[in-house]
Structures are given as C-alpha cells and as structure tokens.
Symmetry: C2
Subunit: 627 residues, 2 copies
Amino acid sequence: MQRPATKFNKEKLLINKAKLDEILKQRNMVIQSYEIYGGIAGLYDMGPLGCALKQNILQFWRKHFTTYENFFEVEGPILTPKCVLAASGHTAKFSDYMVKDLKNGCCYRADHLLKTFYENKMEDPATSAEQKAVYDAEMKLVDNLTPEELSAAIKRNGIKAPDTGNDLSEPLAFNLMFATDIGPAGDLKAFLRPETAQGIFTMFKRNLEFNGGKVPFGVTQIGNVFRNEIAPRNGLLRVREFTLAEIEYFVLPDKKTHPNFSDVENLSVQLYPRELQLEDKEAEYITLGKAVNDGIINSQLLAYFMGRTFKFLTELGIPTEHIRFRQHLKTEMAHYARDCWDAEIRLSYGWVECVGHADRGDFDLSNHARCSKVDQSVFIAYDEPKEVKEVTLSFNKGVMGKKYKKDSQKLFAYAAGLDEAAKEAVAKEVEETGMWKVTVDGINFEIEKANITIKIGTKKVYGDNIIPNVIEPSFGVGRVLTAVLEHSFWVREDNEAKSVLSIPASIAPVKVGLFPLLTKPEFNNKVAEIEKICKNGFLSFKSNTTAVAIGKKYAQADEAGIPFDVTVDYTSLSDNTVTLRDRDTTKQIRIPIDKLVETVHALTQLHPTTTFEKLMTIYPVEEVKEN
Amino acid sequence: MQRPATKFNKEKLLINKAKLDEILKQRNMVIQSYEIYGGIAGLYDMGPLGCALKQNILQFWRKHFTTYENFFEVEGPILTPKCVLAASGHTAKFSDYMVKDLKNGCCYRADHLLKTFYENKMEDPATSAEQKAVYDAEMKLVDNLTPEELSAAIKRNGIKAPDTGNDLSEPLAFNLMFATDIGPAGDLKAFLRPETAQGIFTMFKRNLEFNGGKVPFGVTQIGNVFRNEIAPRNGLLRVREFTLAEIEYFVLPDKKTHPNFSDVENLSVQLYPRELQLEDKEAEYITLGKAVNDGIINSQLLAYFMGRTFKFLTELGIPTEHIRFRQHLKTEMAHYARDCWDAEIRLSYGWVECVGHADRGDFDLSNHARCSKVDQSVFIAYDEPKEVKEVTLSFNKGVMGKKYKKDSQKLFAYAAGLDEAAKEAVAKEVEETGMWKVTVDGINFEIEKANITIKIGTKKVYGDNIIPNVIEPSFGVGRVLTAVLEHSFWVREDNEAKSVLSIPASIAPVKVGLFPLLTKPEFNNKVAEIEKICKNGFLSFKSNTTAVAIGKKYAQADEAGIPFDVTVDYTSLSDNTVTLRDRDTTKQIRIPIDKLVETVHALTQLHPTTTFEKLMTIYPVEEVKEN
C-alpha cells in the first residue's frame, strides 16, 4: 500500500484536481467566503483544517527564516496613506489593463482575453500548423504588451466580450489598490497595502538604529495584502486578499554576499534564466555555487536566499523536480526590480510562481528619502579619513545684488548646492572664458571672473552616506499552501474512493484522530479520557465517535491529512494501550496511553525527533487489514 | 535587589508612564506608523521586540484556548460585503457621535469633550463641593446619553471647540467602519471588518457540519479589525487598526453550562456587577461558583470563560488584584448583547477593558438566517418522537378563485404559512362565527365555513430546529500587550536609571542576550560561536558586541525585557562555560555552553519546565556585583 509516484508532464501535475477540490470543500478546508450570501469572487475562508495548516506553515517559516537567520519580525498597519504608495510608485504603476463590454459595462482583463483566445485557437483542429505557430509566438508575448499593442491584438483577432459577443472598449489602466479614507473628515486618502514591503521600508531608520546603525540586517513581515483583481480565478492563486510572508534584507550595494553561502552552494536546482526562456529551451539543473560563478544569478546573496527558499519548500514536502527558479524577462519585471527570480512550483495549473526573489536595488529607500525628506542612508566610515579636493565658490555680493537684485539669492543657493565635480567645471569655465554663464530658474546669469572667487583646497572625509540595497524574498502563503495540498494528495491503489493528504506530520493541521473501535459507552469513555490527556498536553486531536465503521473513520482522517490515528479497542480496556496508525502506510503499533502524548508530539512537532518507522522497532506492530 | 511592589490607587496604576513610553520608543517596540511622513494618528508599528512579544502572546493564547479547549480556529477575509454588515446591524448602529467646529470643520467626539470638561471642573479648586457632586453624577452618565442629551449637555455647559473656541455643530452619528469597493466596476460596496465575529457567523453552517451537526462547539479567529476612530488616543488603547482574538462558542439556549466548570469555580475574582456600580460601591471578591449560584453571572458557561480569561491574564503576569470583571450597564451594551462582562485591568490610564465576555444570544445567526435566507438552525432530535396536534386548512378553490380571482393565491400562500397556534385560532373562529375574516397584503378576505375544510389530526415530530446562542470572549490584543508591559515595568531601587521589563520569560520577545565581557576578538569569536549554536537550536538571541561596559549591556537588555543574559568571560575561553544572568534578580550561574540552548529553552518555552532558582541548585552561582 505504498504511495505511488505523482504523475506529471512538462507543464503540469497530473492529479485529480476535481476530487481534491471536492475534499477541500467537504472537509471544510478552503471555502469561498460569505457562501450563505452567494459568495464573493476572490475571497476565501479557511476552515479549521485549512487555517491550522496555514498557521503551521507560518510557524515553520518563522523558525526557518526569522529565528534561524536572526531577522527582525515587524508588524505595520494594512491602512497606508497615499503619500507612501505614491513614493513607492504604486499609485502610478500598480495597474492591470481591462476592457469593458461596451453595452453592459462588464470588465475583463485584456491579457486574459487574449490568452484564452490563443489557447482555444491552438486546441482547435481547424487551425493550421502554420497559424498555430503564429498564435504560439503571439501568446508568449502577451504579458509584455503595451496598451496600444493589446488593443491592436484584440482588434486584429476580432475578440468580443465573451459573455455577450458585444464590442469591447479600448484597454484602460485599472489600479489594483483598494481605496478608503481615514478620519471623520475623510480628507486623508489611503489604500489597503498591496505588499507588506512598504511598511518595512518606512520603518527602516528605526530598525537600522536597533541594529546599532549597521547593515546588513533582515526584516520580516507576515500579513494580509489586497489587490482588487479584475478577474479573480484559480482558487487561492489569484485572490483579492491574501497573506504574504516577506523578507527585506538591507545590504550595501557592493557587499551582496553571505557568510553562510557554503550551506547552500552545492544544492542542485532547476534554473530557468532569461536566455533559455527566449530560446524556448527547458530549465537546467545547476548548483547555486556554479550559477553565481557563471554570472547567471547576479549576486551570491540572491542565490543564498534562493537556496534557503529551496530548502524551505522541500521540507514542506515539495519534491525537488517540481521546483524551478525562473528569471523574469526584462519587460516583465516590477517597476522596482533590478533582477528577479521566481521559485515556481509545478501544480495542476502549470508552473506557478510561489516565491519571488527580487533585487529591488535602492529604489524604495531612495524614493522614500526623496518624498519624506528624511535621510535613509547608512554612514559607512572609512578605515582612514580621506583627504579630498574641495572647491569653494564665493561671489562679490554687492555687485551681484546690484545687477540681479533679489534674483541673486537664487544664484547663491544654486551655487551652494553644486557637488564637487560641478564646482570644478565652474572653475574650469571661469579659467578658460573669464566668465561663468548659467541659467537658474529661467534667469540667465553672467558672472565675470572679477566677481567670483574660486578657492581650491582639501578637506577630510570620514566616510560615505550610502543608501542600502534591498534583496526581497516574498512568499505567497496561499500559493505555498496550495502546492503543499496538491503535492500531498494521492489515491490508494487498492481503492479509488480512498484519497489521502500526506501532509508532512510537522505541519499537519490536526495531529491525531481518536476513535473507538465500536460505539459503546466503555470505548467512548476511554476516548474521552484520552481527549483530556491530549488537552492537558496541548496536543491537537479530532475525535470521531459516530456509528460509522472504523475503516471509514480512517479514510475520513486520511482525507483530512491527520497523520496518526488512535483506536480504542477491547485490549485498551484491559491494559491501557491503544493502537497508533500511520496515515501514509496504514501500519499500526500498540502503545501505552501514558506514552501517547509525548510520542505524537515527537512525531509531529515542527522538527520531529522520531519517525513511525523507528517506533515500529520499539513497540509491537499490529497486523491489521483495512478494506 | 528584589522587585518592589507596584504602587497603585483605587483607579490607577502609579508607574512612571513617561519613562515607559520613552523605553518603548527607544527600544523600537511600539512606534507611530509612517513616522518619516509625520505619522498617522491611530496607527502603530510593532518593531522587532513589540512584534515578537505580540506573537508570543498570540501563541500562548492559541494553546490556552484553541488547543486546550479543542476549538476550531478559522480565518476569514477582512473585506466584508455590505449585506453581511447590514444583517449584523453594523451599517445602522456602529457609530459614535461627533461634533464639528462650525468654522474650520475639525471633528471631536461629543462624549470625550464632555468628559474632559467634567474632569477639568472636578480638578478645578474653584468648583464648589456641591457643583462637583453634580458634575460627578453627570460624568457617570456620559456613555449612555442620546444625541439630544449630548447636545443639551454641551450647550448647558457652554462647551466650545477646544482648539479654537468656535461654536460646535449638533452631534452627528459617524459610522466607524472604513468603506471601500470590490471589483473593477466599483458596484460591490464593502467595509473593512469592525470585528472578526461576523466572519465566524457566516461560516457557522460549515463548522456545524464539521462538528457532525452538533453543538456546542467553539470557533476562534485572530485577525486585524478596523474602526475609523474620530479621536484616536492613549497609545494602543484606542486605535484605528488592531488585532482581536475572538471566540464564538455556539450553544443551545437552555444548555449554558460547561463540563469543566469545576476547574474554575473556586477562583476568587473581583466582580463589579451593575448594582454595585450604580450604588457607587467598589468591586467585590467572590468565587465564580458562588457568582453563578447567586445569579450574579447569568450562566455557568459565561462564568467558565471568565475563569479561563482570568487564568490567561494571570499567567501573562497580571496580578490578581489588578483584574476585575465589570458588568455592562443596560444602556451601555452593544446592540447585539444580552449580557456583557468586561475583564478590566488596572493600568496607568485607569481601569481598561481588555477582554469582553458577551452573551450575544441568537442575535447574529437569526439575522443572517433572515437576510441570507439560509437556515442557521441546529436540529435537536427528541429522545422519542412526539405526537402533536396538526390542523390542516383547505379551501374550495373553485369558489375562492371566482370570488377573489388571482388574489386567492395570496390567501392560500398565507394560510399555508401559518403555524399550528394560528391555524387553531382560525379553526376556533370558523367554529364560533361560521366565517374566517382575514386581511392579507391589504386585501380583505371573508371565507364562509362551507368553503374551508378544517381537519384536526396528529403528526409525529422528531425534534426541534433551534438557532444556537453565542457566548463571545473577545480579546483586544494591543490592550493585553499594554497591560503586560505596564505590569512588568519597574525601576531598580539602587539605581533610578535602571528600568526593567520583567516580561514573563515564556512570552519575552528575545530569550537571551549574548555579550562579550570585553570587546576583544577572542571574546567576540566565542560569541559568534554561541550565535551559531542558538540559530541551529532555533533560540532567539540578541548580541551586543559594542564597546560599552557589561553593566550597561545588562541594563539595555533589562529594558528590552530579555530574561537571561549570557556573558563570555576569561573562564569561557579556557573551559567553554559562560555565565547566565537572571534579569529579575541579576543573579548569575555558570553553565557549560553545550547545555545552554536546552536550558534556556526549558526556562523560556510557553510552559517552562524549569526555573532559574532550580538551576541555582544545579550549577555554580557566580558572585557578581552590578553597579
């Protein structure tokens, strides 16, 4: 009764997705929100099993990243004033293009319409091989089209509103942020954050100080973010409210290395750089060390985090061959990104981006420095102070004042603001032409050599003020959770009705099922006794004392992903032992009740300290045939 | 160097609040959000120490409630469509009254203005004792005034806009919910949830099914909620975005007991029922068992949860004498509440509501059943089916059709919808008067005995459909966190500059400080070695290798609430031991480095398995004098 290997092809995991979806609904794991009111697209409820699974994944994430890496976890608000999102570029650029049905006003995403059109054409036997090649080529470019190109493609292909056949409007940019107002007067415009990152950036100075004024350091934030998707779809993959777990690692631009890179450098992972994508080749296995040496990944630091993500995903039970790192095409990158590698996981939907790894450069801190007028740099002292050339410009203020009146103040301010290179250029111009000609705020100044004094000296500089760069690993928690579910789902070969969610015990939502072999008072009382022991030991359990057969109870628990089941049988009544069943193998051992809680904790804690296989060498194995 | 008892009076905790606030800011625990943009009122950032403390409190809460009670934790969205909040009464009733400065439009909370006015008058030496008594009486009623009474009180006392002295508008109801729109067409009105409870109610049927169709069961949800406060104030106490941890316990109206009530019945707690408040008396100690027996608390179940909350708060380090349960006055209760007891904690602000315990009756489920038209009842089977009288009414449809044309359908539908009692009344009327006269939708029907057939028989009934009641303990996480901070704050008697946050080790944000005795490479290397050991053991630490003296490092760690400090000294270099210092007593022991991680985990896990006192009997105590 071994778990069979999951089938897959180049693009997709081949699982019975309809069956899995049915289980998620039936077992109350993931349900569309406000179901009794007809449901709202793009919003999901997590029932008890879904929520516990998610919480366990997050706790594991915290240990794997925040605790292990000694990062700072912070929490900022979801409500974000407009000034912050204007500085970050989100008010201007965080948009998708939509087209409207010209008669009923229904909205569609322009790129989705085009993709669906091409997909249908490719599957249509009436399409010639030649045409297919054209459609295939066009489809690959859809993500990178300008609104004009989108419009042209829609017209060229004669695409109409899919629900009515009506004509469509020109593509309109639709900002994906949810807007609201803060305060009773309604005059403070705000948005629900579209990412947690901006909260971390606006706290940067405080955390820099907390770290003794030094970089590098990492800051994490876990929380909900909001995107007003035009067309939510694919379950938890494209939703309007979802949880991100983000890391912002602040580092000097020329120090993108990591002291523990050796921990990951020998990991062999599937990389899919731009070049391979553009040549229509497949991802290739390569070690992270070689990928850095060959310049495929642009810094050791980015590669370090890719390695840590890879370890995280495999520890959640995602097999190596279903993970690849795809580099963003240049046209595809977010407005803030310098380089970006997505950890994609092969799912029933195809390859799905689950974790982004972006080098955001100094984009965000520089913009916040500019907009808030609060310096965001780190002072980096030289080992020794440096002597540098210093040019000072001073003017004959009397003469200038007479000639330019109060405009002369503009000149003085402008000159004071020039950097060293610009002042040297002024010195050179005066030297060569006997005159400095300059236009400030539309006013032309001509200053003769006699009225400007140029001193060239030196000064001591003790260090530089540098705005750090940011490396950002960003986890879509709902997508990771979907990946865990799809990759843990299988069906027993001896019985197609028996589905199993082999969620790793460490993150399984409920740790143990408690069942009486028969629904008799003496059995039920023993179950109640064990419940009390579990409660006192803070071990999560789900009892089933209904009248269904024990085999059915096991099957239900397997579908719920419960890794171990306890059964109270006749022997239990006489010697205080119970059977403990392993979900994945259905093997059973017999174990004293007073060992139960510590044993199941050891099997199921975030880093388990034993395995069921080991326990089979310690406790008697029961021969049980399930049917 | 014992911790001195915290001073307090009847109303307030007497601590150096300004000093505590300074520490919270300096140590980057709690900071106003978007500080670099000038800050936004009512929004707060949690820095690394604040966030870790909050997360630890939440994990402790999960163990204490969700895991121990075997509740279901769920997670629903923050975005809530208007229909849900219309059903719950929030769109109509979730308001505060504000008054506007008639010249500049500034908004103030009407009740706050009145309270401040009374407070100032009471402190004013010019106010006579007689006047004070009047003001005192009026102040106590402020929370319960109608808008007309608020208006009258403002006028009577001549209250003007505090910032300008301008006249004020009449009180206006201001709905506290943040509004937004879902979807690209902007036609789905929504709000940010003002409580997590509604998400639990709209999922009720799914969770009922998950629990085998049976009540009672408890559902928990932890998440952010939003209230557009007119005047945010008092740090984390009145904010615009905050975290609630809520429990909704679904139970039959006549079964409000709990099997484990004996676990809490002997707890003696301060109760402050309505009567004592109205008579201006103080809260009184009473056991929860007696309070239930005497009918002071209206159900054993409500008292059970009050007991569990009491245990939770005391385990977080809040002393018994600073906790009281205050019953809401009838005029003060939320629109959905039948009875309500707040767990209040004595803080520097006075007594502050931190946990509400409300009996919401069937208010929410009934309203959602009505508005969604989806049944929210539980079927409760009788032990034996009951025979009950059944009255059937049937009409001579031909005659009725001729007489009333298509209006007759309204009559038939109305009659079919009558309950048994109403049908019996019809039967009686026909018997006595020979006629049934009834008005349906404004149409008068007169049906003669000949045209109506009344059959009186019996039918078997197998059970009742009952809408469960809800008991709701609701925790304001920011308020609980504030209480933990205030009650853990003290100043060393030998040195006023030395403040300490004696946060219980189990929830302390960082578990151990790592310091070199001197900043020398050999000491620093040893610290780095210990850091690696901590990381691999997932133990949170904060190192300090700056050049400040060790005493200063201890003082900084004490302010950050770090419960234990490790110091690498000369002995460490020769025998691989370090000193381990206890924050609260400043006592030190010497311990081998290879025992460090497991020992500090044992001292600091959510349910610690050892104490520093015990360790002092196992490991050598170091004689150290701090100054």
